[in-house]
Amino acid sequence: MNGSLRKFYGGFTALGLLVGVLVIVAYHQDQHRQWKAYQRQFVQAEIRRAATPPQRALAERTPIQIRQILLPELSRVDRCTTCHLAVEDPSYGGYPQPLAYHPLHDQHPFEKFGCTICHRGQGRATTVAEAHGNVPHWDSPMLPLKYTQASCGQCHQAADNPAAPELARGEQVFETSGCRGCHKLGGVGGGLGPELDKVGARRSPEWLNKHFLAPATVTPGSGMPPQKFSAPDLQAITLFMLSQTGESVPGFYASMKVIPSASEGRRLFGQKGCIGCHSIGGQGGKIGPALDDVGLRRSPEWMVQHLRDPQAVSPGTVMPRFGFAEGEARALTDFLVHLRDQKVALTLPSLMNPIERGRGIFGTYGCVGCHGPEGKGGVPNPNAKTAEQVPALTYVADGYSKDELRKFILNGQHEITPLDPKRPPPPLYMPAWRDTIKDAEIDDLMAYLFSLKPKGEDLGF
């Protein structure tokens, strides 16, 4: 019996050792984490930079531990600072990553914003690859630095953000290139292409770039015409698309949607009807003073006070109290101060003539996309009877009365007469704009369309 037991002892020893070794391997794997090496690197840097013995002692006592920013409102935990330890220390400016200093702390204190709300990536992760998010099964990898501005659009209006000029440019490219002709964004636009409200969360910058230049290479069978964007425009529109994530930011983060800026002030100026009493460049009401050189007469502080509570600053004034918030008053002030050195006033919708407003509407709703810049046509629509192109609008004034044209725009034309009934029907059609373009806008739009006809020409319809 003892002889047969001996083999058991051998088995116990072998398997016991194996389990022991495996436990040690598992423990080793668990203890040796990538971030610890970076933290030791940081401690070494701190020790090197210590000027006095107490500082040195303090540096040596730096604990090696996970660091994280808890962002309950955003449902995020950002552990980026576990490796990027010096983001808040300006003396680390110019240090190589991961120990570089990060500016902008004043506007976006990291303890309130974390990192991933702007940079994306995987905040909970503590390895380089996982944290930067370039791994399978993580939808939101870090944005390349040149696209980080896209994230500004999460909390701030794209066009009104002075710190994100590329994002504003992207929005402008979007609104003037006719994208809305086929794509809906925020519920406005055509139905030929997919909606773009969440495109920024689905697509990568590389995909978007490729897609703009040659849609069919990344989406086989795509009917979208290739876009001829300049390099800066391409980057800007890609950036603007990336900003459309469909995510909503809660509470505190949404409160800064409007950054006080001249463009926001211009929007408010038009919206609140200031021009009814005040004039700019000789146009507008005469009840209140002309505002052309108000920036020379008044200090910005006075203007903010005045806008918020006119009676308090100018007793007896007839200007009503509009109830502007602090940010709105600042934006308006910004706009008024800059009236002299910028020709911003000229783009105020209420100061433009209907034709100019109509041109804007022509761009906003994406008519450009199919009818070409200035309605000159040239966009292919295979098998359409009209020379296999979307018709130009240059001579629309000759073919339609105002009423006919209004009806046509409102109702659209779903069936486009084919050139050859045997071939597939033309892909592009005129959508019904009834619920999209507002009534007041239609008048401006028609004024613009009728103005397209070259002066002095008459085809004699």
Binding site: V19, A26, D30, R124, H137, D139
Partner: protein, 428 residues
């Protein structure tokens, strides 16, 4: 005494007042003490003092039942650890997985062990079923234990399935969506059952909390109870099945005759089943050490394998669950892919007929197949017909599962695994 130091230490320990109070018998030195050791220890007394050599043959049982039990114990242990971190909320479950991976000490390896042990348990419980079938071990007097085993198989699948949802990632969400849809095909009760299970018509917070409660308390509780009964029944049914079982074994059990003719009979007051009933006492050995040592060895081996898998392969975790982005194809957990493959031909057959007939066949088997021939031997010639039918079913089930797992691509179309599927990923 020239015994090695650990052994001397142990002998000193068991002779102290405290040691005697704990161990009572100590390391057994004589056959009497070997029997006493087995009955005086809570953990050991489940087993008889002596076992037949046949039951110890590795080639007979392959240790499959014991391996399943060890995996279950490992799963309970790691599962309790995971419960300290996990929150069954759709907002926090996925984050808990990430925290386990990135910041919880040993979190990843514990989760990996739980995952791989769960898959292994499904496999080993099925293998155990095959072993019991091919050796005819479900026959009288063991019919009821076969039923308990069938229940334990279903519980194992239920445990694995309910646990599958908890990480709340895409894999979990869509596997459970598909799996519960298959359950919904059952006539009359299917949709009601599905609603009861999920607390709604779609997988959401209600489903998560129900699956969690089932996974951590209801199913493990029932399974523990049934495992205990399963083991107790093994003893009461005369130990493991063997070819030379006395013909009167069944009669003895059913007539409640008690054995009285052995000195250690007092320790084995099992009804008429105990090893001494066998004609040949020489064919038995003392459980200590022959059985106990083997069991400890096997336990170490199981722990080693699970640890090895857990160290080198991470449990899958995909994107967070997203109800509006189904993967294509969405697949059930692997052990239901045979059914899903069938459902792709016919919902009635895959969702109702085949699983219903299979479970019914398992339940009725010991009462339909009543011959006493060929018990205790693998692939006994006398059982050729039954074994062939079972083997055929097994081959078909494995083939369907392999096809469903590896050969089905987007839209459930045929897709050889060695060919690159057409790119469906949206990100470049």
């Amino acid at each position: 005494m020239n015994a090695p130091l650990p052994k001397r230490l142990w002998h000193w320990l068991e002779r102290t007042r405290v040691g005697r109070s704990v161990f009572r018998v100590g390391l057994p030195q004589s056959n009497l003490e070997r029997s006493q050791a087995m009955v005086s220890s809570f953990l050991l007394h489940v087993q008889p003092a002596k076992v037949s050599r046949h039951a110890l043959k590795p080639g007979y049982t392959l240790g499959l039942g014991l391996i399943s039990l060890y995996l279950f114990l490992l799963l309970v242990g790691t599962g309790v650890l995971l419960m300290f971190c996990y929150v069954p909320s759709t907002d926090r479950a996925y984050d808990a997985m990430k925290d386990l991976q990135f910041v919880v000490s040993a979190g990843l390896v514990v989760r990996n062990m739980h995952r791989w042990a769960a898959h292994l348990m499904v496999i080993f419980v099925l293998l155990h079923l095959c072993r019991v079938f091919f050796t005819g071990a479900y026959k009288r007097p063991r019919e009821f234990n076969w039923l308990i085993g069938t229940a334990l198989l279903l519980l194992t699948l239920g445990l694995s399935f309910t646990g599958y949802l908890l990480p709340w990632d895409q894999l979990a969400f869509w596997a459970i969506t598909v799996g519960t849809n298959i359950a919904g095909y059952a006539p009359f009760v299917g949709l009601r059952l599905k609603f009861l299970l999920m607390g709604g018509n779609v997988v959401g917070q209600e489903a998560l909390i129900r699956f969690y409660a089932l996974h951590v308390i209801v199913l493990p509780g029932i399974a523990s109870l049934l495992v205990a009964i399963h083991l107790w029944r093994v003893r009461k049914d005369g130990g493991l099945s063997r070819p030379d079982e006395p013909a009167d074994l069944v009669a003895q059990i059913e007539l409640s005759q008690l054995p009285t003719n052995k000195t250690y009979g007092l320790m084995e007051l099992a009804r008429g089943t105990t090893p001494q009933v066998g004609r040949n006492p020489e064919d038995e050995v003392f459980s200590w050490p022959h059985l106990v040592f083997r069991e400890v060895l096997l336990f170490l081996a199981v722990v080693a394998v699970v640890l090895f898998l857990a160290i080198f392969w991470n449990a899958p975790l995909e994107e967070m669950a997203n109800a509006i982005h189904p993967p294509n194809p969405a697949k059930a957990p692997w052990y239901f892919l045979g059914l899903q493959e069938l459902v792709s031909y016919s919902a009635l057959w895959g969702g109702v007929v085949v699983p219903g007939v299979l479970v019914l066949a398992l339940v009725l088997l010991p009462y339909l197949d009543r011959g006493r021939q060929g018990v205790g031997r693998w692939f006994a010639r006398e059982r050729a017909v039954a074994n062939t039918i079972f083997a055929l079913c097994l081959v078909v089930a494995i083939a369907l599962t392999v096809i469903g797992s590896l050969f089905r691509g987007p839209n459930w179309s045929w897709q050889e695994p060695w060919k690159q599927p057409p790119a469906l990923t949206e990100r470049s």
